[in-house]
Amino acid sequence: MATPLAETAAPKKRLSLQALHYKLVIGLYRVFAIIVLYLVLAGIFTYAFVMGFYAISNSWAAPLILSAVDEKSLDFRQKLVTSQQTIEDLKVDAQKMQNGIAEMTKHRAALLALEPQLQQAIVRERTHNRATGPQLAALDSQKQTDNAKTQSVLARLKEVESNINKDLAAGLITKGDAATQLSALNQAQGAYTDSKIAEVLLTDNVLQKTTTGTDSLDVLEKQAELRSETAQLDIAINVAQKELQEDTRQIDRLREAITTAKQSPYYLNASGGQTLYFAFVPYDNQASAVVGRPIYDCYLNMIVCRKVGTVGSLFTGEETAIHPIFKTNMRGFLIQMNLDHPESAKSKTVFLGGKPLLF
């Protein structure tokens, strides 16, 4: 059984323990609170300092790691391949066109070579006709006279034939003699017919040699066709030459574009076998981006800096990026960094030309 003294001592001890407990908790709480508040204050001051620093700094750049499967790089590469393919296609087309032009030029030359020969043949024929035409005409006239005489002779052959038949009937001549005599008559008739045919042919020939006939027209048509074909070839050659020139120009343009494109970081990234490091430089910091200037990487984005490389090259194409601190959109350009410390490519910012602060 507890004594009254013990009964009062127990609550006192409990209160004492509770007071100790409270004191301990409050002590720890105050230490914790002080630390937290100082951390909050430090955070706020750091935040304000970082904001102010980046608002006035003009030497920072934001490293950019372009992946080989970077969308822009892949797109760039695809366009490049397409352009190169287009060049190859154009070159094949141009070659075909050149061959065609050569062929057409050759054909044209052959056609042009025919023209004088044709002309000579026409002149020669005309000269010949002029010489032989009148002669044939005189002969034709002679022939007609001859045939007229022959015809009058033949008109009397009917009477001769009748006399032959009468002599045969009278038994003055034998049948054989009669047949021989009649055959001679027929031969004379046939000769006359042949002579008449010759006359007609001669007349026809005279007509051809003394007037412009269908043969001459045929020759002239051939001449016209020759000239037309030559003219068409001229046009085709001209068109083909212009197309060839256009193709050549397009090839040149594409080659220029590819040459320019090959200077793009995205091309270098997509085509190069080695890892390249780039950084975005806002226009405000353009003055700091000079080829060969040192690049510094810092802890906490601004202090304890070390040189990590140099500026390799500048790319003129405009880029947009998000400000690494303010998260606002910015315009600027890319630079290539020659980094001795590749891990610096993963830093939020690097500084061009010098350390941003004194250390």
Binding site: A19, H21, K23, I26, A33, L37, V40, Y47, F326, K327
Partner: protein, 413 residues
């Protein structure tokens, strides 16, 4: 994942706030004179003790008592008990002068033996009271002559345990800071608390004008005196504590916007910061208490009350994390035009409403509320962590503390 969760909680808290404001507007417009408001009985005239704790208020104490002396309430049925908490200025002398000058009412003055804090000073003043209704006031306020009558009239509804009045701003155009507070005060009382009024579950009745049934206060008094933070007496946020305790004891709480008083709000950033820090501490402290007894709250209190008790402080805590996340991920987001335009829009509307319905608080410059964006950042960023790290503070907040703290349980008259 964590930031998304933060944003979700923040959006939920904001949503609840917006819903409450919207409900406030709907209730005000749709149900005038309905169950939203307590059926006031002006024939009910209980005895009233106006307790006025005071610390370093100077002449303001005199003005406060003067305004109470002009109350339209039977003089034989109310008294003023002014209790000084060892002010180091001439506050007590002004109390005595008021006692001499305003003889039309009964004024009792007292002084703590040692500086004890506001909550215990109220309890000490209570010792002299025998009235049915206790009204605790701030010693820097001016009261409308009808304030006491309006407050007591609400107690005719038996389930109402505590009634608050509307606190207006005496100095709305003194500075940008006071103008912002004028808008905040007005919208809080006229809109935000209306849905809480509907369910008789106002979560925090302002200590500027706080009426409570005597038996209820006596029941809670021991808890007030026993409040401590690991042995450090808690003297702040007695209004929130009393309201919370009233609700937990099954009584209703209500704010009667016709019971008016006017307070001089802080006019400098440092004073406002101290005041808001004190309030934020009491919010956090109340939040921890709510969390400790959450099942009881969920089962016994109105969901509207639970939502407010949990989400309001949670929003304040999460707001800190959201602002930190926002500043670290998008530092200039706050500088965008949207928050400013929103604040200006809200400010313009509320300024117009205030000018129309409360000329005394009308703002000279409607656009000053735009500065609230800056204050909300400061408030979210600094107040919560500072409150969380200074929970052991026991001073009067905006008033200079010159005396050492009173050990727990030793607060005497």
């Amino acid at each position: 994942m964590a930031p998304i969760l933060l944003w979700l909680v923040m959006v939920l808290c904001l949503l609840i706030s917006v819903v409450k404001y919207m409900m406030g507007i709907i209730l005000r417009l749709s149900f005038p004179g309905s169950k939203v408001q307590v059926k006031k009985d002006y024939t009910y005239e209980p005895t009233v003790s106006v307790l006025m704790p005071c610390f370093n208020e100077g002449k303001t104490v005199y003005e406060t008592i003067e305004s109470i002396s002009k109350s339209n309430y039977p003089n034989d049925k109310f008294e003023v008990i002014a209790q000084d908490d060892c002010s180091v200025d001439d506050s007590y002398e002004w109390m005595l002068k008021a006692q001499r000058d305003f003889t039309n009412i009964r004024i009792r003055t007292g002084r703590n033996a040692v500086n004890s804090g506001k909550a215990r000073t109220v309890c000490n003043a209570l010792q002299d009271s025998t009235a049915d209704i206790i009204i605790s006031i701030d010693s820097d306020c001016i009261f409308h002559p009808e304030a006491i009558r309006e407050l007591t009239a609400c107690f005719s509804e038996e389930r109402v345990g505590s009634v608050g009045g509307r606190v207006g701003v005496r100095n709305p155009n003194e500075s940008v800071i006071t103008a912002i507070q004028a808008v905040i005060y007005y919208s809080a009382f006229q809109l935000y608390k209306i849905p809480e009024n509907w369910t008789r579950s106002v979560c925090c009745i302002s200590g500027c004008l706080f009426a409570i049934r005597r038996e209820l206060l006596l029941e809670i008094e021991s808890a007030i005196r026993a409040r401590h933070w690991f042995g450090v007496p808690v003297n702040q946020g007695e209004d929130r504590f009393l309201t919370h305790q009233t609700l937990l004891r099954g009584y209703g709480t209500y704010i009667n916007n016709d019971a008016l008083c006017w307070t001089t709000v802080p006019n400098t950033l440092s004073v406002l910061f101290k005041q808001q820090l004190r309030w934020r501490r009491s919010i956090v402290r109340d939040f921890f208490f709510t969390l400790r007894t959450l099942p009881k709250h969920v089962w016994e209190l109105h969901p509207n009350t639970v939502f407010t008790l949990v989400l309001t402080p949670l929003g304040a805590i999460v707001a800190f994390l959201v602002v930190v996340t926002m500043l670290s991920s998008d530092p200039l987001a706050w500088a965008g035009p949207l928050p400013l335009i929103t604040a200006l829009g809200i400010g313009a509307v509320l300024t117009w409403v205030i000018k129309k319905y409360s000329v005394r608080e009308a703002l000279a410059h409607p656009l000053v509320f735009g500065a609230y964006v800056g204050w909300s950042i400061v408030s979210s960023l600094f107040l919560t962590p500072l409150a969380l790290c200074t929970m052991d503070s026991a001073d009067w907040g905006t008033r200079t503390k010159e005396e050492p703290e009173v050990p727990l349980g030793n607060a005497t008259r």
